[in-house]
């Protein structure tokens, strides 16, 4: 009996359409290359980004003439020399880097127990509560969340109101580096939990039970069994949180009170405040390079295989 085409998996039907289209365009056929057509959207997307990067690279090599506000028609490394010699840029890069590392460590420390309890709890109520608590802020944009903190932590905010009840004078809780990091951790926590939860789910509970039955304490089970086995999730979550924090714009802009700029804020200033897109492009490329180097270091230390990216399918 012949099966109805609609009963085939959807991926087969997509392949059929692709093969038919490909055969119409190239009647001789592409043979074994036909499946690679599936990569076309990704290649187009990445290709577009690469073209954009090439334009940014070109801009970064041109300097602004302030008598005409046009860019030089020749290439020069002046913008790069300026970026590497300006103390302000060094300050901003260091602040961004340090902030991203601190936020990543704190986020992982908070996300791990959250994800662990969410995955392991026998109570469906607790699991649902944790899921809702995780996703509710996730649906609220970063800017709205940052403004929420302005209301909560401001001089006339809820926290200072409560402190006022016990006679404490209003404290400046906003517009400083800790406030930016606090906002970033709160923003990144759902990303961390979401990246960790699948990794923890993949660890069979029986292994933990076996560890316990062999005499290991809960702490030993955690440090010798769960944490090592959760390493792919920790590395993945760390990568996401680190790169997102490093490139963040809104939290430093809103919670930093204008004095805690990250690299993205400096790039914005060059593009939109001083009209110097050349220097802005230079900073953008430096940010990309910095992020890539960090990811490269993580891969070098932990290995790409940590994220199951070694190509083996065991």
């Amino acid at each position: 009996m012949q099966r109805s085409p609609s009963s085939y998996p959807i991926i087969w039907r997509v392949m059929d359409v692709l093969e038919t289209t490909f055969a119409a365009v190239w009647p001789k056929g592409g043979g074994k290359f036909t499946p690679y057509l599936m990569l076309t959207p990704a290649i187009v997307l990445v290709g577009t980004l690469v073209v954009g990067l090439l334009y940014i690279g070109d801009s970064s090599l041109r300097v602004l003439d302030r008598s005409t506000f046009l860019f030089s028609d020749y290439w020069t490394l002046d913008n790069y020399i300026r970026a590497l010699s300006e103390p302000f840029i060094f300050t901003v890069v260091w602040r961004s880097l340090l902030g991203a590392v601190i936020v990543t460590i704190v986020t992982l420390m908070l996300a791990f127990p959250y994800a662990y309890i969410m995955v392991r709890t026998p109570s469906s109520f607790v699991r649902k509560f944790l899921l809702i608590a995780l996703f509710l802020p996730f649906f609220i944009g970063q800017v709205v969340r940052a403004y929420g903190w302005l209301i909560i932590l401001g001089n006339q905010g809820i926290v200072n109101d409560v402190l006022g009840l016990v006679g404490v004078e209003p404290l400046r809780l906003l517009f400083n580096y800790p406030a930016v990091l606090f906002g970033l951790v709160q923003y990144m926590l759902p990303f961390g939990v979401l990246m960790l939860a699948p990794a923890l789910t993949a660890i069979p509970e029986e292994i933990e039970a076996a560890s316990g039955s062999l005499g290991a304490s809960w702490v030993k089970t955690m440090t010798h069994i769960v944490l090592p086995m959760a390493k792919p999730g920790l590395i993945g979550a760390g990568l996401v949180v680190l790169t997102l924090s490093l490139t963040d714009f809104a939290m430093p802009a809103i919670l930093g009170g204008g004095t805690q700029d990250f690299i993205a804020n400096a790039i914005y200033d060059q593009f939109f405040r001083t009209s110097d897109q050349g220097f802005g492009s230079t900073l953008a490329l430096l940010l990309i390079a910095l992020g890539s180097i960090l990811v490269g270091i993580i891969f070098a230390v932990f290995g790409a295989g940590t994220l199951a990216l070694d190509g083996s399918r065991k």
Partner: protein
């Protein structure tokens, strides 16, 4: 002879009013194009600042323009700094710019003029009736028309200064104001008074500005907040700050919202600057004509009066009546002696050096 029933007194008045309104508008249309009026676009897009700024423009210029011409005016509230690269890119690529008219700071607009993306507005019929303030400095002709001036005042919370208004920026160095001050995040408006407060002279701008940077370094120890126009109003409203160097319109806006706020021009003086209107190149002949008509109508006494009543700022047309409470206010200079304590630096010097000043200010404040 009795007036015919089909043409009674009411209709006579109505017709007269219509002819009169048309006459006012025709008079405000660009003179060289008055003879041949091209087709009207259904709408024109004017970039504007939000809040009290756009409200004032709408009441004073846009609504009147729509009533006179039937052309709808859309206000695009994209920040002036953010629209600039979009306009530049559109002109460079031969595309139609995203806006018809840019309401811009004169310094920003001068950058666009130097880049050659502004239409010439010299033929606007209302320009001869404006004061010298309307003419942009450092560029040929009228690629921009300045429409009013404004002062970067020292706004303060009177309750924080029980002995009277602060007389000098040095007063803000009192430790009790630590974390209670605010400036623009690029320092605009504060660079020049800081030069004086630091013991330097205005002649030292732009080549000898160390006194400014030294004073700003002292001010940095007060941990001031740095922000944009809306931030100042919010910070005053939320009790976050006691004093700020800001445009008087923001202080006026906060005052209208019930915030206890006043402003002054300190001994060091205050920066005086202008905003203007300009049209990016790349529009059709018809759109250009009606965009010019819009700017021309913004230069009539009636429009200026309503628009600038909303902003609390002095215009470029003689004979305007100061808004209530603003007569004699240091933020509303009209007579030569009013300008004696205000600092005006040529637009060309500002355009050429602004980036360095911003960068230096940020280096100090973010260090």
């Amino acid at each position: 002879m009795p007036i015919d029933k089909t043409f009674n007194r009411r209709q006579l008045l109505k017709t007269t009013a219509t002819v009169g309104a048309a006459g006012v508008f025709v008079a405000s249309a660009p003179s060289i194009l008055r003879a041949a009026e091209p087709d009207k676009p259904s709408e024109i897009i004017v970039r504007a600042w939000g809040g009290p700024w756009v409200e004032a423009l709408k009441n004073g210029v846009s609504d009147r323009f729509t009533a006179e011409t039937g052309i709808r005016v859309i206000h695009d509230l994209t920040e002036d700094n953010e629209i600039q690269p979009k306009v530049w890119a559109a002109v460079a690529q031969g595309r139609t710019p995203p806006i018809h008219i840019n309401w811009d700071t004169t310094t920003n607009a001068t950058k666009s003029a130097l880049r050659g993306v502004c239409e010439d507005l010299s033929d606007l019929s209302n320009i001869p009736g404006t004061t010298d303030l309307a003419k942009p400095v450092g560029v040929d002709g009228y690629p921009i028309v300045n429409t009013y001036g404004y002062v970067y005042v020292l706004a303060y919370r009177p309750s924080a200064f029980p002995d009277g208004p602060p007389k000098s920026y040095h007063d803000l160095l009192d430790p009790k104001f630590k974390g209670r001050l605010a400036f623009y995040n690029d320092g605009i408006g504060f660079h020049f008074p800081a030069q004086v407060a630091g013991g330097g002279s205005l002649d030292g701008i732009p080549d000898a500005m160390d006194p400014a940077w030294e004073f700003i370094t002292k001010m940095k120890d007060q941990n001031p907040l740095l922000g944009e126009d809306p931030d100042f109003v919010t910070w005053f409203q939320n009790g976050e700050i006691d004093a700020a160097c800001t445009i008087s319109t923001n202080a006026l806006g906060a005052k209208k919202n019930g915030v206890d706020i006043a402003w002054t021009v300190p001994d060091e003086g205050a920066k005086f600057d202008t905003d203007g209107l300009w049209i990016p190149k790349g529009h059709s002949e018809g759109d250009l004509y009606w965009s010019k008509a819009y700017i021309n109508s913004a230069l009539t006494k009636e429009s200026q009066q309503i628009w600038l009543d909303g902003l609390g700022l002095p215009g470029v047309v003689p004979g305007l009546t100061p808004p209530p409470g603003m007569a004699g206010d240091p933020a509303y200079p009209t007579k030569p002696e009013d300008f004696e304590r205000l600092i005006r630096i040529s637009g060309q010097i500002q355009v050429e050096n602004e980036s360095d000043w911003f960068s230096k200010f940020k280096t100090i404040m973010q260090g």
